[in-house]
Amino acid sequence: MNLNAQKGMTSIQTISEFEEIFNTYYARLCNYAYKLLLDHYRAEDAVQQVFSKLWEKRGEYNINTSIQSYLYKATYNMSINEIKRTQKFNALENEELVKLSDFDADVANNMNELETAIEKALSIIPEKCRAIFVMSRYEEMKYKDIAQNLGISIKTVENQMGKALKLMRMHLSEFISVVLILLMK
């Protein structure tokens, strides 16, 4: 199968074709989900569910829907649902909605202070805004592709990106100063 990002969903017919898609996108989508959920296990669970749904409904989608668009949008939706579910339970338990201790402890141990701070800053950005920022920064997607993948306008992407970087700047200010000092040395 000649797999490309714009390939239609109706082209998935066999397990080997599906496995090729899985191999191409699994780690990428897990990383995307991880930056939204900031939890290794939950990210994998979300992506596993995305692929389960894709497998169940293979061949049913309109040929105009690209695999990549579908997968990113589905991972986004799955992650947002997971965030809402967690917030609901955390709220019930009278806990803070987002906190650093939610991070995977082992992963946090292997990260340096800056990375931990970036994750903390990401966790504070509202979900939708965070999803857009993650696509742009870590998936290196163009604004028009983000808009297409999430089914929103390019103008929304522009505004959300402005908001995201502003929030990141506020929460990373300490580190940015350190980076500036290091750069100046």
């Binding site: 296990y41 596993q48 339970f89 970036i118 870590y138 990141m168 700047r169 980076v179």
Partner: protein
């Protein structure tokens, strides 16, 4: 200047007009330059987050277990009660806003319900594999590498991935089964909680006492009587997992009990004389029809499928 426009410039999405507009603005004052540099540094600094490592092979293995593996079909005849029991549990849960699994406040949306007559295979993200024979299995809401807890009502075979740093706990009724990594079968219903251990050791915590079960042993906690009994595993306790039934000089009347459980059917014997006949055979992944045919030929009996049950009678 709108932040969105500055960011557009930084991420190289701005058109020629916007580039000129932003560059003019930066040159207008020292303050503008500081704002711009702070945003640009934030953009560059935020890239320092290294990608997480996700194991593709394990991910695909887990996907296959949960989605692609053929579920061995079990003979469906009359025992559909689990289907109704599972539906009833869900219905009661909806009605009262809580359910059996929520009583410790660790409810999780990641739940598996096997209402079918097939075995549902489940792959968890710690590498553990579960065959849910009947009933419901729910992962703890705080499930993580260091908090491996599930809740079971029904019957499931566990192949727990070994992790010396993190024990795996199964909450079953009022009991807990705690392991580090091994293979065992757990049955939890309103009357009993039973553990059949295939390999290794497990801790079986009951309201009465805590036991250490060894390989080959079976422990049963009787909820009503608040009693524990320990015995050797029965010849066919793992029959559904091994897909085999072994009868070593066993009375037909006793063998029928295992056959009923395995195929989910009800079998009646016409008289004690037939029931006392002994059988010595092994069925490997056989259909019920074949098993009945073999019994019929070797024991010289007749087998009839009647309304809701199978009758074995003299020829």
């Amino acid at each position: 200047m709108e932040t969105a426009k500055i960011v557009k410039y930084i991420v190289q999405e701005a058109n020629a007009t916007e580039v000129l507009e932003v560059e003019t603005w930066i040159g207008e004052s020292e303050n503008n330059k500081v704002i711009f540099e702070a945003l640009e540094k934030t953009w560059k600094t935020s890239k320092s987050l290294k990608p997480q490592s996700f194991d593709l092979a394990k991910g695909w293995e887990r996907f296959k277990i949960n989605n692609l593996e053929q579920k061995p079909k079990r003979f469906s005849f009359i025992h559909n009660y689990w289907r109704y029991a599972a539906a009833a549990i869900i219905a009661v849960g909806i009605l009262f806003g809580v359910n059996y699994f929520q009583n410790d406040g660790h409810f999780n949306a990641v739940s598996f319900v096997n209402q079918s007559d097939s075995i549902q295979k489940i792959g968890l993200n710690d590498g553990s594999k579960i065959s849910l024979l009947r009933g419901m299995l729910i992962q703890d809401k705080n499930w993580s590498e260091n908090n491996r807890k599930v809740r079971l009502k029904g019957t499931a075979f566990f192949k727990v991935e070994s992790n010396s740093n993190s024990q795996f706990t199964i909450n079953a009724g009022m009991c807990q089964v705690v392991v580090l990594g091994t293979k065992f079968l757990v049955t939890a219903n309103d009357s009993i909680v039973k553990v059949n251990l295939m390999e290794g050791k497990v801790a079986f915590k009951t309201p009465m006492e805590e036991l250490l079960i060894e390989a080959g042993q079976a422990a049963i906690y009787n909820i009503q009587k608040n009693e524990i009994s320990i015995s050797e595993n029965g010849m066919n306790d793992f029959s559904l997992i091994k897909k085999q039934l072994v009868f070593d000089n066993i009375k037909l009347a006793d063998a029928i009990i295992d056959i009923e459980k395995y195929y989910g059917v009800k079998i009646k014997i016409e008289n004690q004389k037939i029931g006392n006949q002994k059988i010595n055979t092994k069925f490997e992944n056989e259909s019920l029809q074949n098993v009945l045919q073999i019994l019929s030929i070797t024991l010289g009996v007749e087998v009839k499928e009647l309304d809701g049950y199978i009758l074995i009678l003299e020829q």
